[in-house]
Symmetry: C2
Subunit: 233 residues, 2 copies
DNA sequence: AGAAAGCGAGAGCGGTGCTCTCTCTTCGAG
DNA sequence: CTCGAAGAGAGAGCACCGCTCTCGCTTTCT
């Protein structure tokens, strides 16, 4: 684990790579993923466009780096929010999660769109992004685990079909070691998660405009509803 | 209301406009909105790119036409599904709505992404698209109205905050004339709608991959849960 | 010290949206 | 019926894009 690069060249490479990614990140936040131009980034960093290819083999690779960075940033924000609550306060933690999620998304709409909006045209997210993406869902899974451990169970969870019981195995195996959440409850938590992202996307992408006049109130209302549906208060 | 165009020129214009839009629609389905190329469309229609500008003043205008067309197609699919159920069968109608929505989205992923994914870069959907977009939500609102009329009310709907009561006015006013749904119930229906779009987007955009192994079962499970939460069965 | 690898610049390819000009056709009013 | 206006297509061109390739120069490794 050599933290300091050996040669001057390696040191320069790290620095320039960072500069490119940093500039790219700024552009991403300003113009969005689809309009992100490698040439414009190169121009700002102060080199010719072809030189950038020494650092990122393609625009998509650069995009991948930005995706991972964004996932990590969002994940960190969620973790911070979560850990600011008492571990037993599942309702508070869910609220903090939802609040932090929406806050980050509204502060970084382009990044949110990159992560959870439609995929960019020819781009397929490589497996490298998966761990970073899981960080976001891991936080809410831990809240679900804690709530389950504390005997706080979703109300009116419908019994699962056989296929659904089998299908939810992927999520089940993502639980922390030694943790268990009833499948039917897990599915309700998943639906809560889907609702959060769904409502947030509808809001950010403008589909609630005209219908919902107070997005803050609507979000708070949904959190409150979820806290009850999940049996947290 | 002249259905037949007067002159040969007007007739040709209509026909060519239709041909361009039709080809654009095909391309949209194949390569997605961001990769949609006006030049490629022109090439296939058999004219030079600059000529297309006689018919659509910009690529965005063409995109707008495609958005409206897609909304209309989705709306029609939902209406057809809805009307294939007995009007009193609110649970069946909700199921049909959800089923048709997912079916259409999976058959037209690029169109779905165009409508409900992240907005394309510099593009802002003009107000022209709003009526078409409302067609999609109108269908489920009618189901909510009918359910409410029949005394089928969502279970455990949380009381609304003052702000939320005021904020939901936009949706309230979208109800059909003479119809009424309690605000708190309306919000639950809205959340159901958000959940449907949220879960569908997560599925289509690949965020459930690895976690949910059987998307069909998961969708069916969510529908069943919603039917109960909304008090439909 | 010399070979090898890394790196930046520049030119270039094929693509994009869009504009402008030129020519030809069609239309409608006198 | 004529003639000017308007509509339509083609082509060239502008500024941009992602990406490739070559050519020198520098750093590194052997």
């Amino acid at each position: 684990m050599t933290t300091a690069p050996r040669t001057a060249r390696a040191r320069a490479r790290e620095e320039i790579t960072r500069a490119i990614q940093q500039t790219a990140r700024r552009h991403l936040g300003e113009v969005g993923p689809a309009a992100l131009s490698l040439r414009a980034i190169a121009r700002e960093v102060g080199m010719v466009s072809s030189a950038v290819y020494r650092y990122f083999p393609s625009r998509d690779e650069l995009l991948t780096a930005l995706i991972i960075e964004s996932y990590d940033e969002l994940g960190a924000a969620l973790e911070t929010a979560d850990s600011s609550c008492a571990p037993q306060d599942a309702a508070g933690r869910l609220g903090a999660y939802a609040h932090a999620l929406r806050r980050w998304a509204r502060e970084h709409p382009h990044e949110y769109a990159l992560l959870y909006g439609s995929p960019v045209p020819g781009y397929a997210a490589p497996p490298t992004t998966i761990p970073a993406a899981l960080r976001v869902s891991a936080v809410i899974l831990r809240i679900a685990e804690q709530a389950h451990r504390a005997g706080r169970h979703p109300a009116a969870a419908r019994p699962l079909s056989e296929a659904e019981t089998a299908g939810v195995a992927g999520v089940r195996s993502a639980l922390a070691d030694g943790q268990h959440v009833d499948d039917a409850h897990l599915v309700r938590w998943l639906q809560a998660w889907s609702l959060l992202f769904g409502q947030l996307s509808l809001e950010l992408f403008g589909h609630l405009r005209g219908g919902i006049l107070d997005d803050d109130a609507h979000w708070a209302q949904t959190i409150e509803q979820l806290q009850h549906d999940l049996g947290l208060q």
